[in-house]
Amino acid sequence: MTAASQTTNQAAPKTATVALRGPDAGTARTALLFAVGLAVAGAAPFALYPVFVMKVLCFALFACAFNLLIGFAGLLSFGHAAFFGGAAYVTAHSVKVWGLPPEAGLLLGVLAGAFLGLIFGVIAIRRQGIYFAMITLALSQMVFFMALQMKFTGGEDGIQGVPRGVLFGIFDLTQPLTMYYAVLAIFVVGFALIWRTVHSPFGQVLKAIRENEPRAISLGYRTDRYKLVAFVLSASLAGLAGGTKALVFQLASLTDVQWQMSGEVVLMTLLGGMGTLFGPVVGAGLVVTLESYLAATSLPVPVVIGAIFVVCVLLFRRGIVGEILARLPGAR
């Protein structure tokens, strides 16, 4: 044994910097980036059109929720529009028709997302890879057709003129800046929850499952249950994003539950870098910005976005943030 340990020590890693890297390295950088991002977001409505930034924030939260699933549990869902759009309808309806305050409307939206997520999850979770994606797509199409048929969703018109109301009885969301900071706060809460989940005992098991599911099973983890919890969490947060979006635009419509919406969130996440915390935010910012610029031109938006997507995937496989991280020394 002693002979063996000697040879081991001789063969020890050459780069001391790498060896010194502790388990908590990177947390400080994340905190710094987050602080910078928060400062920028806090100042943004004075430089940019607030509705535009709010749209970015809603989609960024949506993409972060999606990323929790693909990036940290290794599950590719192609039905996330159902949670986003479903929650948008529920929030819009409960605020407009039932006259609930926005916080209650959002809560119901989140619950709607969680509920749909549970149903999707129970049905799909045992499937692997492309079958999982296909089942989530099929289920979300069912939600789409339900949205088209059901009365409360308003069919082709959607639910329009959703009142923003007064948050917690204090914050008057009809004031653009108040609305903006409320959206920012919602985003921060959602993002923090995702960060916590990723860096939790649960997150550790989730990563283990993503990395090597049979091994996780052989260590005694009933992996289906962990994946299901991750799925419901992701769906709930997608619901939070959808509900918030309904308040921002005072509208819930078929666009929110359409399969294109599911595709869009995949695109944002891959573009920014799946499995990174900030990637989906960057991806969402990029896609929303591009879409609004392109909308003002006569170019066909989906084609241009699609082309950019293809180029990006070919050039940087890990997504924008993923590539940056891979090039930083000692990053992971």
């Binding site: 002979a3 091994r215 099973i217």
Partner: protein
């Protein structure tokens, strides 16, 4: 005497679309022993492992663990009962650090594995134990490296540390020494011997000198069937075995 049998297979058979990979295998693993399963490539050794640990469902036959029928149990439940396996193809969590790899195996008893609202730092109390296990397999200098960065032989060592973290009653090791350099084989074999003092080990291994040195019992498998069984000197003198296995240049070293 039957109390002594911790793991038993009766008439274990596995067919893959008509191809019989494992045929009527009766295997009895005695508590506290090191039991080796050897045989030429494709003999069905890994399939037997997969059947015993429920990663595959047998076509026919029965599996008993501590006298209890586990033929229909789920693989994760088997692990919780104390029957833990490693894999032939190195099974680590590549993008977790070496420490985290071992910690994942240690964290279940804390009962917080579903707690997504808790901080990762609540797991830090496990670090000492994890580092001890890492030390046991000589991986201390790599503790904070990603498992993906380890050379192949080191990954196998990490896998053993992770398996040991569960303190299993029965360890099933599928070719634990494969891909290891000479310098590590000796140490790892010694480690297996040491940990087997307090548990049962069933292992598949091609390195016959190690098998000869470590095992109490050897079962030779060929084309899915048991060819011979017994201690090394009995098995190695069996004419059929010599023809089927030893004869093919397996006498010493790696196969």
């Amino acid at each position: 005497m039957t109390d002594d049998i911790i793991l038993e297979a009766r008439g274990l058979t596995k067919e893959f679309k008509g191809f019989v990979a494992v045929k009527e295998v009766n295997l009895q693993v005695r508590r506290g022993t090191i039991h080796a399963l050897i045989g030429p490539n494709g003999a069905g050794k890994s399939t037997v492992f997969n059947l015993l640990t429920k990663f595959l469902t047998p076509t026919r036959g029965q599996i008993l663990y501590k006298g209890k029928d586990i033929t229909r149990a789920k693989p994760a439940d088997i692990a919780l009962m104390g029957l833990v396996r490693s894999f032939q193809i190195s099974a680590v969590f590549p993008h977790l650090s070496v420490l985290e790899n071992v910690r994942v195996a240690l964290q279940r008893p804390l009962g917080t594995s579903f707690h997504f609202w808790k901080s990762e730092s609540t797991l830090h109390e496990l670090h000492q134990r994890a580092l001890e296990l890492i030390e046991d397999v000589n991986l201390t200098p790599w503790a904070y490296h990603l498992a993906a960065e380890l050379p192949y032989g080191r990954k196998r060592a990490l896998e053993i540390a992770t398996t040991l973290a569960l303190d299993p009653e029965v360890m099933l090791l599928d070719e634990p020494l494969a891909g290891m350099g000479h310098e590590d084989i000796e140490g790892t074999a010694a480690l297996i011997k040491r940990v087997a003092a307090s548990r049962t080990v069933l292992m598949v291994e091609h390195n016959l000198s190690v098998v000869a040195h470590l095992s109490d019992t050897i079962t030779v498998l060929r084309r899915g069937e048991i060819l011979a069984e017994g201690p090394y000197d009995v098995v190695s003198r069996n004419a059929q075995v010599m023809e089927a296995y030893m004869g093919t240049g397996g006498g010493a070293g790696h196969a």
